[in-house]
């Protein structure tokens, strides 16, 4: 089979979606950035592609690259066709993501302090104070280290015109970076041909960057800070990620029961007694973090953590209370926040958003529920989201009631035809919708954006829901290097320089002589054998 067979009917199917295709320009001509990938795929038969896909899936299962769903470990499906982002497009994304993180950081500092953003009339006070994630428990102090958004994941999508837009911000506990790291390893083995000539920017430095940012934001006066990753435990859906990051950073992965707070300092229980902890990379929701401040029935956290943070005895990353910044209603104000705090125009635009607590917008939306996407403002993972065109009449009626009952709790957006990338499905490639979550690490001085990020793909034809819990998979995301100065992924070098053996260790005086003698003996033995034969 040739490429034309595997891609048979592709352009027709892509045409039906009405979306921007990342790989092919209209007329099924591969875009320039995809040249190498298209070349590699052209050489492959169906049997070959399937064998590679199977082997990639098997490797993931063996390595335990899984997520937990309903108590079951499932491998996160990785598609063999990567998502490629050309250097100039990445440049824009990188600047846009960093800009957004800086604005949200400033917003959070302000919200938990003087709230000048409210007194200057940029956003209504009520909007902040009614957010479910505005935590009064952390009001009025600057966290140790001075950073709140250490790690963020800013979800972007491409609309039908090919323009990138921000879909949502994740500044609480963004997950998925482990798959970025694992996908690259798997692809290097699954489709090595495509790595050939292209200069792809590496992702492996993420754990190093993360660790250095976490250490840099340790409480002042700590010389050699101890960093830990705090996980809710083995049943959390992202447990694999927690182990991978802790492992790659070489730090302990702790559960709440391993920690103890004493005199506003945090310690972990070790075989050698209690050991001080300075920085906690928190992978647990605020609500479960500290039974003294939040849910008192939580067994996942550790009592006293928030007080310790307030006293400056420990850095918690990301800071407690960040949820107020990724509230989806606040999202609709982020362009204004960027102008207000940074004095810049947003590099990446938002998706048009209706605020349902505004009467006019609400009336307009309630008449058109069947053509819009309606989302709860504090949801994540696609929970509670309703896609109008796919919903039944009953679902829409129920939604209408819920919106009227709690207008602050919902936003509405037009249905975006997310861009597509060819994805293996059965015996051919079909267009499937994707989004992109670039990850940013903020160490207080600089916001570093991991080149690429997690591309999630809706594996079902026509589906716009990319979440792993709802049948989504992922793709390796390649950012092409624009200039030769940027570090890139390389295949192992072909030519190997032979290193001369130098011996500095004392050896027996006649050792060398004997060795050559023995070799000669072997050679003559071999000759004898040949002669006998």
């Amino acid at each position: 089979m040739t490429m034309s067979d595997l891609f048979q009917d592709y352009s027709e199917a892509a045409g039906r979606t009405g979306a921007y295709d990342e790989m092919f320009a209209p007329g099924q001509k591969a875009r320039q950035s995809y040249g190498q990938v298209a070349g590699a795929l052209r050489e492959l038969s169906l049997a070959d592609v399937s064998a590679r896909a199977d082997s990639m899936a098997r490797t993931f299962l063996d390595r335990g690259v899984t997520f937990d769903f309903a108590g079951e470990e499932r491998p996160f499906p990785l598609d063999i066709v990567p998502r490629v982002i050309p250097a100039d497009e990445w440049d824009v994304l990188e600047r846009g993501v960093a800009q957004r993180v800086r604005a949200l950081e400033a917003f959070l500092n302000d919200v938990y302090d003087k709230m000048t953003v409210v007194s200057d009339g940029v956003i209504p006070r009520q909007l902040v104070t009614t957010s479910a994630h505005f935590h009064r428990a952390v009001h009025g102090f600057e966290p140790a280290g001075g950073v709140r958004v250490h790690i963020s994941g800013i979800d972007v999508v491409r609309d039908a015109a090919g323009t990138f837009r921000v879909l949502e911000d994740n500044v609480r506990v963004p997950s998925g970076v482990s798959y970025v790291l694992e996908n690259r390893r798997a692809m290097a083995k699954g489709l090595p041909e495509a790595f050939g000539q292209q200069l792809i920017r590496p992702v492996e430095e993420y754990p190093r960057r993360l660790l250095s940012a976490l250490r840099k934001t340790a409480p002042s006066g700590v010389d050699d800070p101890t960093v830990v990753v705090l996980t809710p435990g083995v049943f959390n859906s992202a447990y694999f990620e927690h182990t991978l990051l802790a492992g790659l950073m070489g730090v302990e992965l702790v559960e709440g029961r391993d920690l103890i707070c004493r005199g506003n300092r945090v310690y972990m229980r070790t075989t050698a007694g209690e050991q001080r902890v300075d920085v906690i990379y928190k992978r647990i929701d605020d609500d479960f973090l500290d039974p003294l401040q939040f849910r008192s029935d939580s067994m996942l956290g550790c009592p006293g953590l928030v007080n310790a943070a307030r006293a400056g005895g420990v850095t918690i990353a990301n800071a407690v209370g960040n949820g107020v910044a990724d509230d989806k209603l606040v999202y609709s104000y982020v362009p204004d926040l960027i102008r207000y705090y940074l004095g810049e125009e947003p590099v990446i635009a938002n998706v048009d958003t209706f605020r349902l607590e505004e009467k006019e917008a609400r009336e307009h939306v309630l008449d058109r529920l069947h053509e819009l996407v309606v989302k709860p403002v504090d949801g994540s993972g696609g929970k509670g989201l309703v896609i109008g065109p796919d919903a039944s009449k009953e679902e829409l009626d129920a939604l209408r009631k819920r919106v009227i009952a709690d207008p602050r709790g919902w936003i509405a957006q037009p249905v975006l035809q997310l861009s597509t990338v060819p994805t293996l499905s059965g015996d051919k490639f079909g267009p499937r919708h994707v989004d992109l979550r670039p990850f940013a690490v903020n160490d207080g001085d600089d916001v570093w954006v991991l080149p690429g990020g997690l591309t999630r793909v809706a594996l079902k034809e026509g589906s716009l829901i990319v979440n792993s819990s709802q049948g989504g998979g992922s793709k390796d995301t390649w950012v092409l290097a624009g200039s030769p100065q940027v570090p890139v992924e390389r295949l192992p070098q072909q030519s190997i320089t032979v290193r001369e053996r130098v011996s500095v260790w004392p050896v027996e005086s006649n050792w060398r002589d004997r060795q050559s003698e023995q070799q000669q003996q072997q050679i003559s033995d071999a000759q004898e054998v040949t002669a006998n034969a």
Partner: protein, 308 residues
């Protein structure tokens, strides 16, 4: 290191060794069991299960049930599948501490558990496969994990379980009315060749038992395994006193080993059951003492106040 992780590593060591020992015992006894008349087979199966520390679930307990209980039952910590599943689950919880090689070998072993025929013929192959996998796991643990505290806990679990398993192996001798041949017993422990090379002329029950019990150089002998455990304990707690021990585990392990090592008898065979029982008891007590000293998480999740 974290107490919780140390506990996981200790149990990885124990479970992997348990799977290994159980596979060895099952492999050898299956051969014998097959030769017996049905009635006797049933009672022997029952007793064998008892030696391995479990009770039959139902009245109707035959060969098939024995295979299930010792090899394939995923919910029992006595069976091979159960032990390997538990080892893998512990590794999953300590994954950031162990090497990826060790984790992957346990993980692929776990996924391989289902790929075997569960009848008598399949079980021979299964046991063989288990021995290969456990050897691989042990090898990777020894060569890819730094021999620091984490490895010491793993090795400690492994050597205690090994002493226990060899004791059970020796106890199975009485289970078969015809008597288990010592050749098979030695084969079971993988000790046959070593034994022959050491004790050329003196072949017999007494010598074989001595070898598996007291040999100072054969790694699966009880004395060797116990002194291994003692060494790990000594390294884990370098605060040795000039007099006595504050570490219960060391005292228990040391007493058991020295009693065997310095014991003098003319009739080892008749004392064997008592020795075996004591060794197993010592292992259980040592394990408890280690838990108390190193893994104790008994302090509840509690607020201890601003100052204390």
């Amino acid at each position: 290191m974290l107490s919780r992780i140390a506990e996981s590593l200790f149990w990885i060591g124990r479970y992997v060794e348990r799977a290994d020992g159980t596979a060895r015992i099952l492999d050898v006894h299956l051969e014998r069991l097959n030769h017996l008349p049905t009635e006797e087979r049933r009672s022997v199966a029952r007793e064998l299960l008892g030696v391995m520390g479990a009770r039959p679930q139902s009245e109707d307990f035959g060969l098939e049930e024995l295979l299930h209980a010792l090899a394939y039952d995923k919910h029992s910590a006595t069976s091979i599948a159960g032990s390997l599943g538990a080892a893998r689950e512990n590794a999953r919880r300590a994954r950031e501490t162990v090497s990826s090689g060790l984790w992957e070998s346990l993980n692929t072993t776990y996924y391989g558990l289902n790929q075997h025929r569960k009848d008598v013929v399949g079980t021979y192959r299964f046991c063989h496969w288990v021995l290969e996998r456990t050897a691989m796991v042990s090898g990777l643990a020894d060569t890819t994990v730094s021999h620091d505290d984490s490895w010491l806990f793993l090795a400690l679990g492994r050597s205690l379980e090994r002493a226990d398993m060899t004791a059970r192996m020796l106890s199975t001798r009485d289970v078969l009315s015809a008597g288990m041949s010592w050749v098979n017993m030695l084969r079971c422990a993988g000790a046959y060749e070593s034994f022959l090379r050491t004790r050329r002329a003196a072949f017999g029950d007494q010598h074989a038992a001595e070898f598996l019990l007291l040999d100072r150089l054969f790694p699966r002998s009880i004395v060797y395994a116990l002194s291994d455990a003692d060494e790990c304990l000594a390294k884990l707690d370098p605060s040795a006193q000039r007099v006595g021990f504050i570490n219960d585990a060391r005292r228990i392990v040391g007493q058991a080993r020295t009693f065997l090592e310095f014991h003098r008898t003319d009739d080892l065979m008749s004392e064997l059951p008592e020795h075996m029982e004591r060794v197993q008891k010592a292992v259980a007590q040592a394990s408890d003492a280690i838990s108390r000293k190193y893994f104790n998480q008994a302090d509840e999740l509690a607020w201890v106040g601003e100052v204390s």
